[in-house]
């Protein structure tokens, strides 16, 4: 009698133990997810990371934390993820050009090949701004003035290691004009110089200074990519730099990376979670506040984009910077 009664119990127990087994692969994330941001808290990438982490947490039901590992100018964060356990629980959030620029212009202890792409969630082009007292509304006027007064006009860029600098160099080089490129110590000081009319034009990530644009203090002359996604209608039609002999796309596409040895099924799980989070209403609402709508690119598209951006920047560097 006893034995007969035992059997269903044993079966039931086995069932309970076995039941989660097939689900394990889909049970991502099994633990707290860490999103490593190699830049300071409060910056653009960090702000996006925190918006995204909140959206991911709601979907995954597990904690998603943002870690700012900024030491060594971001080296610490990049290296940390490069060496992390490839279990999909430690991810790097960075922008395409923010990853490519140091790799191209500096001696850094990481390379594109150290990471696998999970997907991209946010894309913002670079834009060119001028104070209203410069009396310019499109980039053609700047190029004409620069031709008339070689070496007189100034182009402010946020840093020498940035998409902005690449864009300034390409623009001046392709149009064969001579203006002085002035590197600033980050976007903050450049913002001040544009607002104070201390540089003729400034190259900076959109939507930085959007408030000043709305007030009419600053004009948008051109953009490094389409401004269709921006939540301020009057500037959506801004010409891209294609119209000024510079057929390159310059901006920053932010996405997530994992260590290169991460198994394909783990990446797929992480990508599924990321896509849901990127397209969630939470994150869309965040994007509305930030200035641009979120996007979704899968890992392959994102990685291909990184490679082509890397090649493009290297070409510009060889042609106009070195």
């Amino acid at each position: 009698m006893r034995k007969i009664h035992m059997l269903p119990a044993v079966l039931a127990l086995a069932g309970v133990m076995a039941a989660p087994m097939p689900v394990v692969a889909g049970d991502y994330p099994s633990d707290t997810v860490r999103i490593v941001v190699p830049w300071r808290a409060g910056g653009g990438t960090d702000t996006i990371a925190r918006g995204l982490a909140a959206a991911m947490e709601n979907i995954a039901g597990k904690a998603v934390v943002v870690d700012n590992l900024t030491a060594g100018g971001g080296n610490a964060g990049h290296v940390h993820v490069k060496k992390a356990k490839p279990d999909g629980l430690t991810m790097l959030l960075n922008g395409s050009s923010d990853l490519n620029s140091p790799i191209i212009f500096r001696n850094v202890p990481y390379a594109l090949e150290d990471y696998a792409c999970v997907g991209a969630i946010y894309q913002t082009p670079t834009w060119i701004l001028a104070h209203k007292d410069q009396d310019m509304t499109d980039l053609g006027q700047f190029l004409e003035r620069a031709k008339a007064e070689p070496g007189k006009l100034t182009v402010g860029v946020g840093s020498l290691i940035s998409a902005h600098y690449v864009m300034a160099a390409a623009l001046l080089g392709k149009n064969d004009v001579n203006a002085r490129v002035i590197p600033f110590d980050g976007g903050g000081p450049l913002k001040k110089a544009i607002l104070g009319n201390q540089v003729t034009i400034g190259v900076i990530h959109a939507p930085v200074l959007l408030d000043a644009v709305k007030k009419g203090d600053v004009n948008v002359l051109a953009a490094g990519g389409s401004l269709e996604g921006i939540n301020y209608e009057p500037v959506r039609g801004t010409k891209t730099i294609d119209a000024y002999n510079t057929p390159v796309k310059i901006g920053v596409t932010r996405g997530l990376f994992v260590p290169k040895d991460t198994p394909a099924d783990v990446i797929a799980d992480a990508a599924a979670l990321l896509e849901k989070a990127a397209m969630s209403d939470d994150f869309k609402a965040f994007g509305e506040k930030f200035g641009f709508a979120p996007i979704w690119w899968d890992g392959e598209t994102f990685c291909d984009f990184l490679q082509s951006e890397n090649k493009e920047y290297r070409q510009i560097k060889a042609d106009f910077i070195d």
Binding site: A71, R106, N107
Partner: protein
């Protein structure tokens, strides 16, 4: 402008901000009272806690500490003759004799009154000048900022313990630390030796933690196991009658005026202003005669104590309008602003007016709370003087290390802090001041960046530094300061050969000794 301040004052009058400021002020009094511990160190130790706080609350806490230490320092000066903080060193000259004569409560009472009066007038100066200077500064260009920074550095080296050579060496060491890493304008890596952790420079928080946290502990190690003998145990604060306070208006108004002005000069701070105001008050005094100073006259407490609290308002002016520190504590607050994602500088007022007014409001509240604590509860803070403060050292080291770690979430800055702490200890032993190093490290990058940006704007023309009247004046001031120091250096060299130099004598010796003990 008035509206912004009133809003800030209305917001501060809530339980949470008041509690934060009260905590900060009480902590400041405590830390100030303990010889060897001062406000830069206390703020450094609390940095890791402030990372997790709301930005404004974090600064309210720091302001509370900053204001509180200025009064707290006088307790030790009066009761032990060992200054609690460098800024209170001068108070010992008359405070200690008065306590010895059986009037310790009165001495503390004068100190509380003078500190409060100085603090309030300093606050008035800050709220009157900050909005105005901020609006002028918005039109400043890199060349202006560079010249103000250079003038500040020259003043720092001139004021520190009288030896400009040591001051300059300290400042240059600071500049050297600051020059490590990636150079923004040329894209060259300086002194990084291909070490990726050095490639973007040495973490400022780590340098501060080392020089203000670890150096202090190392320097005070010889005090382990020693508790102090107070001059008197009758410690209830006896506030002076208003008439006694107001009839000595000259002493505390001179002290306050020096405090505000010296505080507002980038880089110098309270240590310099107290000695200046004391000397001025003594030399101008008829009743009591100058000879009476040093025997325990109230004026000798009123002048330095009003002066050191007045600097708290004065230092806010360059900090909030130009992003240039008035002293070591404000240098740390500027660093904390960066860690909180703000960009200190001429646009701070424009971008974060509520924060600027919030900090100014906190100064007022901290001064009022300081008065109330000093009036009613000084006793509790004085009692700690009898305890062995070595108990605090392990906590200081732990919190300081966390502070260094948390700035970058990395262990490397902790090593940097240890190196700086040990180096700072030996430098202090040799008579150098770590304050000069830290200010060099803070002002160095500001100056370099703005000099080069100014040159970039002008296409390499150096005349950009003299092409407006304010710049001409600044250049002249810098030149005068340097020439003056060089002449003084030559003169004092001549004097040391003669045995009876007028500057020497028992009092100068005493000043030297006090400044030295207070420094740690």
């Amino acid at each position: 402008m008035l509206e912004g301040l009133l809003t800030a004052l209305a917001e501060i009058a809530a339980p949470a901000p008041l509690f934060v400021i009260l905590t900060g002020t009480a902590l400041g009094l405590l830390v100030g009272a303990l010889p060897g511990l001062s406000s830069p160190m206390a703020i450094i130790v609390l940095l890791p806690i402030t990372y997790k706080m709301e930005t404004l609350a974090a600064f309210q806490l720091m302001v509370g500490i900053y204001v509180g230490t200025k009064l707290g320092g006088s307790y030790a000066s009066i009761l032990l003759r060992t200054p609690g903080t460098p800024a209170a060193a001068c108070t010992a000259l008359d405070g200690f004799p008065m306590a010895e004569n059986g009037r310790p409560g009165e001495a503390i009472g004068y100190s509380v009154m003078a500190s409060t009066a100085g603090g309030l007038v300093g606050w008035l100066a800050a709220v009157s000048f900050v909005p105005f200077i901020a609006s002028v500064a918005l039109h400043s260009e890199p060349a202006d900022i560079a010249l103000i920074g250079i003038a500040g550095l020259v003043l720092v080296s001139a004021f520190v313990r009288g030896s400009m050579v040591r001051g300059l060496i300290g400042v240059l060491l600071g500049l050297l630390i600051a020059s490590v890493g990636f150079d923004v304008q040329d894209g060259v890596e300086r002194y990084s030796f291909n070490n990726p952790m050095l490639s973007s420079g040495i973490s400022f928080a780590a340098v501060l933690v080392g020089f203000f946290g670890l150096t202090v502990v190392l320097a005070d190690l010889d005090m382990v196991g020693r508790s102090s003998e107070l001059v008197s145990t009758k410690l209830d604060t006896k506030l002076p009658r208003f008439i006694d306070f107001f009839k000595r208006w000259k002493a505390w108004t001179i002290g306050t005026a020096y405090g505000v002005v010296v505080g507002a000069i980038p880089g110098v701070g309270a240590d310099g202003s107290t000695w200046l105001s004391y000397a001025t008050v003594r030399n101008q005094s008829k009743d009591p005669p100058p000879e009476a100073f040093g025997t325990g006259v109230p004026e000798g407490i009123l002048a330095p104590e009003s002066s050191n609290n007045a600097t708290t308002g004065g230092t806010m002016i360059p900090m909030l309008t130009l992003g240039i520190p008035g002293d070591a504590s404000t240098a740390i607050m500027l660093g904390a602003m960066v860690l909180h994602g703000l960009s200190p500088g001429v646009t701070l007022m424009q971008d974060n007016a509520p924060l600027v007014y919030g900090i100014l409001a906190a100064i007022l509240v901290a001064n009022i709370l300081m008065f109330l604590i000093g009036w009613s509860a000084s006793r509790a803070f004085i009692m700690v003087l009898r305890r062995d403060r070595a108990l605090l050292f392990p906590f200081i080291i732990v919190f300081a290390s966390i502070g260094a770690f948390a700035a970058d979430n990395d262990v490397f800055p902790v090593y940097v802090a240890i190196v700086c702490g040990v180096a700072g200890y030996f430098l202090e032993k040799r008579g150098f001041s770590v304050v000069t190093i830290v200010l060099g490290a803070v002002l160095g990058p500001i100056i370099e960046y703005n000099v080069r940006l100014g040159l970039a704007y002008s296409a390499g023309e150096w005349s950009v530094f003299t092409d407006t009247w304010p710049r001409k004046v600044l250049v002249a001031v810098i030149a005068l300061l340097i020439v003056n120091e060089v002449i003084r250096a030559f003169r004092s060299r001549g004097e040391t050969r003669r045995p009876a130099a007028p500057e020497a004598g028992p009092e100068a010796e005493r000043k030297k000794e006090l400044q030295h003990t207070g420094r740690k």
